[in-house]
């Protein structure tokens, strides 16, 4: 304590019991508000870094598939946007069976928006009846269902089972047109992706008349 002038006097002391000075309160509030805006403005770019990068967006390109080599009654899986897309060649008997299932299904006519393009709003949910294309991701929580094409009780899915798909995660079942059965965890039919025929034996997944992809 060797200062030349005395600084520890009581001349400038403020009574701690005084009410807050309204003018100072105003500026404290204003400074906090402006600082808060700056904080939020800084948070926006940080939060935005979570969105898919340009690279991830670009990876969503359409995929061409040769469908001529799929035997009747079986399917092949291709990758589109990192998701499995199933392409199944259905037999006439399998197609005939679809109609009989309507009362057991949650949305037999595929009326719910967002899962079925207009050209697939038919009994088989496909452009051509025999060839069924859908995204093999359960509409419940995104697992990939497994194919159970065997009919009857052999697969443990009940004696009435006509073939279809079973999601291993939560037990949702789908018929051979990807339509979900009633009272299962999955709320919607499997998504039919945009696709179109290039020739009779080649299709492209990820693009159609409305989606330039």
């Amino acid at each position: 304590m060797s200062q030349d002038t005395l600084v520890h006097d009581d001349d400038g002391a403020v009574d701690p019991n005084l009410p807050p000075d309204p003018s100072r309160r105003f500026w404290v509030t204003t400074a906090c508000a402006v600082g808060g805006v700056a904080g939020v403005a800084t948070a926006v770019p940080l939060v935005s870094t979570f969105s898919p990068s340009e690279k991830a967006r670009a990876a969503g390109a359409p995929v061409e598939v040769d469908v001529g080599d799929i035997p009747v009654g079986s399917m092949k899986t291709v990758e589109w946007r990192g998701k499995p897309v199933w392409i199944m060649h259905r037999s006439p008997e399998q197609l005939a069976g679809l109609k009989t299932l309507d009362p057991l299904l949650a949305d037999p006519q595929s009326k719910r928006p967002g899962f079925t393009p207009p050209y697939a709003e038919n009994e088989g949910r496909s452009r051509k009846p025999e060839l069924f294309v859908c995204v093999g991701i359960c509409t419940h929580l995104g697992c990939s269902p497994t194919a159970h094409f065997e009919t009857g009780g052999g697969g443990g899915l009940g004696a009435d089972w006509q073939g279809g798909f079973l999601c291993p995660c939560h037990g949702s079942t789908f018929d051979l047109a990807g339509r979900v059965f009633k009272n299962k965890p999955a709320p919607d039919n499997l998504e039919v992706p945009p696709y179109q025929y290039l020739t009779d034996t080649r299709i492209i997944v990820g693009v159609d008349e409305d989606n330039k992809a």
Binding site: S51, P52, A56, K83, P84, L141, G142, C169, H170, G171
Partner: protein, 462 residues
Amino acid sequence: MAGEKTVETTGLLGWLDRRFPVTSTWKAHLSEYYAPKNFNFWYFFGSLALLVLVLQIVTGIFLVMHYKPDAERAFQSVEYIMREVPWGWLVRYMHSTGASMFFVVVYLHMLRGLLYGSYRKPRELVWIFGVAIFLCLMAEAFFGYLLPWGQMSYWGAQVIVNLFAAIPFIGPELSIWIRGDYVVSDATLNRFFAFHVIAIPLVLIGLVAAHLVALHEVGSNNPDGIEIKQGPKDKYGRPKDGIPFHPFYSVHDLVGVAGFLLVFAAIVFFAPEMGGYFLEFNNFIPADSLKTPPHIAPVWYFTPFYSMLRATTDEFTWVLAGAAVLGAIVLFAKSNLKGFLRVAVPGILIVVAVLLRVIDAKFWGVVAMGGTVVILFFLPWLDHSPVKSIRYRPTWHKWIYGIFMVNFLVLGYIGTQPPSPPLNLTSQIGTLLYLAFFFLMPVWSRLGTFKQVPDRVTFHAH
């Protein structure tokens, strides 16, 4: 120098004490923190949880030195740790076993709090910080489980992230934002790594500090649920039923540590996979975005809540809506809610009942899974029993707690199994029991003949 603090200590400790609260902190939290002298077996788990936290942080640091958070290399780098890093297998098994044992210890710690009413006034904040720690642990375990990039890692993350897609309107965009891609991918792995190694641990450590500070402010509860601070005091003003934490409980807890480490080492060396419960077999297969394993289930510590998610089907929302309507009628007719609340609370329940049928069951499954954890936060205000500890509750209350515990274990078991109609029905009954335990607690917890709580803790010198 003027203004220097006067302290009783001398030498180096005195020098430190004049600059930093060493002695006062030591006294406040250890040598003069008086804990009830009647602690039993159940009181080991708090200090054990702290031990496991330290184990996880230390082993985690060494794993990060060899692990690669990259979708192309993550699986290989974990195998590299297991096969080529000297003693890497031990560090990794300690970390994976530690994750499961953390939940074992924390579940037992929470059960202790439940049985002895350790969440009741004035310990509400201790409990709330504790539930927040539990939530953080769940997040930490979930983020960490993606890192080995095996099939279970991948599809587990896929399912949980898709939970968010069930939220009406913003859901699908939100789940893409969380993943940073249209599916779980490299971007997801990288950010989960960041959450697992830095973001969540920071929050967790802060919450653990808050949990302890809050506990030491109000003092520990005990198996009798008696406030020792309100009991008789000795001539020094110390509670007669209390003993200093150090050395009495610090040494006592070492016995718990020794017992725990025996079990822990046995698992690490002889059964690190624990029959597929601690490390699932499917996770030894590299992640494949095109193929879900035939049976996927979360790790055991999530399965009770996962069961309740699966139980919420379209039909089950009718039951829940019915329960909400019934609750609204009873509250309106019988409760002692006053004025505006008397209309508002039943009104909210009716709205919930309508929404239960309007919004997809998928969304309500997510609400069930989250809500059954979040409801724990409200426990201090749901329990209206005049006594804290289960020791002085009516005998039938013990049955209720017994049923609750068995039900929780049954739900946990069902969550590990593939879905089937009888199990689904059981899990739906289990979900109702779980919800009824909490929602009806304000009613049942005050019924019955309670026993006389003694003035002093029950204690027999050894």
